[in-house]
Symmetry: D2
Subunit: 449 residues, 4 copies
């Protein structure tokens, strides 16, 4: 065997990769076969001793044997069923009775995705909690707010983190809400009518899914509706893109010219040829993998319009879609946790950077004061636009430019101007906004089951 | 002016197109400016007579003047503000005080999207209701279920429709749930701190949004978080892809070789050169536009990772994203309503098509009977696989092939086989499944506000 | 180790999978390190005995050791370099001198992609050749042409295949043309200036790449420009989508109601529960994997706008992009070859299906005759539209409807009508068109190096 | 009428928007109808006086009348044909004879796209020429090269521009090469067989296309193969993404902390509330619109796998695809031209920024010297990694750290170190690389027809 896909050795936690390993997928599918036997037995369709027997024999099924049989039969689930039959003696007579392959496949996906979503939820909660800590810890740490990459107005670092608290909490809420649509079993036979089980189909469905504490899809074709898969993948792609935004924040703020935040690199080598390099490679990996996640959305959307009671074109693509999406988000989540943990914060540099535009970032504050004093807002805006440009050209501090301009000094003396130019005086409701954001996030965190 | 984009003259209902017209976007933004004045006034920041005055002058603002000013200022919202100032006399002094452009833009989007989503919800409900009617009306209308494009097992037409009831209801539920995250105002100033309003920011926010009965985002950068836009677009793309699936169903079933369902074409010309043509062009339009919708998801996802307190790269792309997505889904919804209304159903042809494989589609039913009689499921499967293939090759009815095969006749006599081969005897729980699906859908419909 | 990605065990030929295995990627990179030493030596920068020495020691490098070192160093290429150094004694002193990691990585990609593209070209040629054979063999095999899924006018099966000959040849031409832009080495150091090699950079570049018979990129940043990767992936996605179209053709024509073409299934099991099923699963796999390919385009496009002299966000995503795209197209190509080889063609059924609309598909032929006789084209179109609809409603053959309609019989007698209604008389230039298409394709095939 | 899509009033040059206006699309289609008459006449199928007559009457066709007729007929091309018939008297008898709608539509697209591609090529050449000028003008202007957003090694601004010269030239070459596949007429009738023209189809095709100097597709279904559209859109999306990269370069280098390059803003207002703001809004628009372009690729790819001799799902989506893609790239191109023209270059700041890491960016240069002196490369790397980190921690210049370290001073004296630390001494082959790049680009420019 080769190693080709980086999911095999490079990305994803052990627990998540295990969930989407062939081994776990196969063993989960076999569990569904056993549960189906349980359902059939409780519905009185097959003898009651069967399920217990199968529960034991199921362990004897070997992936190699399944592969071998698939080579002959050309059908992976059929091969799995036959492998189970082979080791089950008399009990094998009833294996898979009345079920279609996707009763097994989709119910197994629901079980695996439930576990996978729990991991996603847990790690997302961890990220939000860390962000909340940072939001509170740095709620007074002044820094410049940037729009268009240009200096805008002062904020605090805690406020910046609180925005991520909010954004990521919204993703968590979306994921929480999606489970009731997506984590459902599908036990309904070849075209969804339960025909093989006569008038006992609802019992088979209920009793089979009871084993896994799953609710059923209310109706299905041969397969569970694919909008659910699309919803999940969209939600993961949105979450990944938000963490991409956080990673981008770090990557930008770590530029040596800015140098406000840095990804801790420890003993890591930055470049194979430039000895001095320290690179934000964890953050860059997050941004890189987010592109992979965004691309998966297309597969998921194209898989919705299947033919009639289903065609098979979702099958090959989903062999990639689910493992790749979940393991990639898992790597993104773990990397974000590590990134946040090793973050180096440089409040001094933040304070210093606010000043590099010579006070011009406080122009709005002056404008507001002038309006208070009676000047029209648009006039004040125009005057300040002119003064800030001149200050920039003449390379003098805005304070000086303001003081010497009659249109300002008519309304404000130097002391008032100095006060208005202090960033710490112009932070609005930052602390209360952080508070209400944290409250909002904690409510969502509390809803994670 | 040219006409370039088909949204201008070809696609979308009057009501939806109006919502996303420049005129409505501008007038909604102006309403937000007035509401902001209301908020500022109630917070005691500006004189109380201002809002009422602005409410009157706002009508005098002309798009042409905004365009003219934008030509000079290079900033569309600044141009709009100046246009309002120009017509507002003394009241103009306070227009836009402490607000950033996206306080106006994003709050206006929330208002417009709320209206747009109501249209989407209303039309989706209409489609679901029609599908429910069809599901109930045709619950006993036999037809073949198809997987891989091949005949699988019998279903009923009502059951087929019920699957769409379920799928589309799930989309409706998603849209319903998203509004609490997405339909929120954003009144928080240049970088989200509300700094210009001192300690009265929360009042400004609350009172401004009260005008529109909107809740605020709990925190924001310069703009509302873009995961919300992505969520909406994903939901619309999923819905569009589901309706694509329905359209695909019609297009396939209307093939002359199948001819079970047809899109009514009335007097429409099918081809400019082939006089006989009747084409499912409404259904094809739905499938075509669904591709456009799916493509929009990428824009929405790429707009999430913006720089710091925002960069402007979402701006140009969203000028396309929101109007195009909502008007395209609107056209898809209206087309689906029309398609369903004019659907021609051919139960006789459905019944007839079940037979074209000479009873082979009932093989599972025989297999189940054999298992009841004591044969192992996998053995029964293998025997029937062999018999069905032979019946196909010899071009005889499965009944004959079964009767003459000793492995079958040992267990079942001709009468039993005949019974087992009747499609109407092998419909499982179709009616009850339809019932529970309709119940599920009606609950979701009931939640539409 | 788990098995997670289906590339590991399920999809892709041995030769293609081997190319993108970690082992081959690593050994190709090591070859580039050796070639670089050759280049350095020929430029007189390092002693001349070094390259030969490294060529021998390179075999001793173990992937396990690289992994171990990467764990410590956090840099995969640095780890590989150190592994080589460890086994190279004195010669190790000069390994990787003046090179940046992506000199190695991108030059290795060029080598691997050249091999991979050769496989793609070879298999594409094979498909085109088979299609040419079919086009010629079936050039007179009548069948109905279908537009909108509705019967349009007669064609021949050979003509249908010839369209695929044309379309796929165009893809081959695109791929051929792309190689001169894409298959280029990158030996230019950390930011592309060749600074470490003083004034001997061009010699190092030329001599290193001579080992692989590669031309260099004319300039680069730290990495080769990523538009080349995007071009390749776009070309593969287009090719994949064309083969998706071919697969779709088979899937549709294999519907039991149509039954003109079938995918041969041999002894393959169609369904785990429906014994009669024969499913076009190879064709469906092609369509499914084409979705995966289309999604990859996004990653490739998003990787173009990297920061300055590069950022690392292409790195993680390309670990997926290249192996997945090439192995998926490889599986699609092999599956298409198999699909074509096992295709079952049913000329009788094709002939029969032409008739199912009772001659109405020949309406254009009658229209043309009427115009020849002096009727205006639009009048003839209108009359025939009316007559065909009536014939359909009354369920009579178009011949009868035409004969009894005075507007027709005025111009044409029964014999003339009968002649005009013969599909074989209305095939236009089909044979010559096939001929020129084959000629066109053969010219492109001839250009494959 | 509303104004909904920003293509109507906001984006795109007059010339490009005109090409994709309904008016031009309709008049081009009408020209194809006239040319078809010419072809038919030269083939001896219709009287020779017809074409000239139609050429005159064609001007009388009104879009309003077409709309009106489409309302009745439900078919846009049929409506156009009837409108032409109505104004053409006796000549109207032969309009559209033997043609299918897409003979007209696709041939018109080829004509329009040829014009559109010429605009794209012309503007792309203009951008490349400007970049060449800049590459040459600033070939010695020192600046820091950045990888991962971190300082790497010195380059020159001219070298940076030359990379864009190369990358964009490659796009130009791709576009040049694509025209032979894409700009082809399609005159072959309803299913591509030319049946209506008997044995004179090749003459009709040739003579019709001769009017436009177009070559034909060698074969077609009802429509031209859609891989061509996909190729064009991919090429435009790649070009757009490259210009996105250039815009991103400007946006980043304009950050106040970096401040090496700025987008000239003139009198433009930066923010509606922050008077000091100067924002790179042109560059941001380019990056924003590139996202729109990337999304179009999906539509184009999904349009390849159409059914049989075509289905209609490409129709609605292409009404968006072509106008949007071409006008959006046009806006991107024009914006890039403007951006480049108004670029403010700050060589002093560039020089200054090289120094902010205290000489550490020259670590590779020292490493190379040490290897020349006999130290092993990996040892030198390790030592320098240690020394650069210490220099950073102690906040001293690398020169001092090197001089005082015995492992260095053993090999190099202060003078040698000082020399090695000079960025201008470590530029490798920059000038020659620029030269060969310009030569390469000029060859491609020379191939634009």
């Amino acid at each position: 065997m080769f190693e080709i896909c980086p999911l095999e050795w490079r990305y994803g936690s052990e627990e998540m990769r295990k969930l989407f390993s062939r081994e776990n997928i196969t063993s989960t599918r076999l569990k569904v076969e056993v549960a189906l036997a349980q359902g059939l037995s409780r519905a009185g369709i097959i003898p009651s001793w069967i399920p217990e027997k199968l529960e034991k024999t199921v362990e004897k099924v070997k992936i190699e044997r399944i592969d071998e049989l698939e080579g002959k039969l050309g059908h992976d689930i059929m091969a799995m069923v036959m492998s189970l039959v082979e080791v089950s003696g008399e009990a094998g007579k009833y294996v898979h009775l009345g079920a279609t392959s996707y009763d097994i496949v989709d119910t197994a996906w629901a079980i695996i995705m439930r576990d996978a979503l729990k991991i996603v939820q847990r790690k997302t909660v961890k990220i939000i909690r860390t962000l909340i800590d940072y939001a509170e810890k740095y709620k007074e740490t002044l820094m410049i707010g940037r729009t268009h990459g240009q200096h805008a107005l002062p904020i605090t670092l805690g406020f910046k983190f609180a925005n991520y608290v909010y954004e990521i909490s919204r993703s968590l809420e979306r994921i929480n809400e999606s489970t009731k649509r997506v984590i459902r079993g599908k036990i309904s036979g070849a075209v969804g009518t339960m025909a093989a089980w006569g008038n006992r189909g609802f019992i088979v469905e209920e009793e089979t899914l009871r084993m896994f504490n799953l609710k059923p899809h209310q109706i299905s074709t041969q397969i569970a509706p694919r909008d659910g898969f699309a919803e999940i993948i969209c939600n993961l792609a949105i979450l990944g893109s938000q963490l991409d935004r956080l990673a981008l924040e770090v990557r930008e703020l770590m530029r040596p010219e800015i140098d406000e935040i840095a990804e801790g690199v420890g003993r890591r080598v930055g470049s194979s040829t430039m000895p001095q390099k320290r690179n934000p490679v964890t953050a860059e990996k997050i941004s890189g993998l987010a592109k992979v996640l965004r691309s998966q959305v297309l597969i998921a959307l194209e898989n919705i319009p299947l033919w009639h009671e289903r065609d098979l074109t979702n099958s090959s693509s989903e062999r990639f879609l689910l493992p790749h999406s979940f393991i990639v988000i898992d790597e993104i989540l773990d990397s974000t946790i590590r990134l946040l943990k090793n973050l180096i914060i440089k409040p001094d540099k933040m304070r210093k950077n606010i000043e590099i535009t010579g006070g011009r970032v406080m122009a709005e504050a002056i404008m507001i004061k002038l309006v208070e004093k009676g000047l029209a807002r648009h006039k004040a805006h125009e005057i300040l636009r002119e003064i800030t440009r001149k200050a920039e050209e003449r390379n003098i501090h805005l304070l000086e430019a303001l003081v010497e301009d009659e249109r300002i000094s008519r309304y404000m003396n130097r002391g008032e101007i100095e006060d208005a130019l202090k960033p710490e005086n112009y932070l609005g409701e930052i602390e209360k906004i952080i508070e209400r954001t944290v409250k909002y996030a904690e409510k969502i965190i509390g809803n994670v089951r």
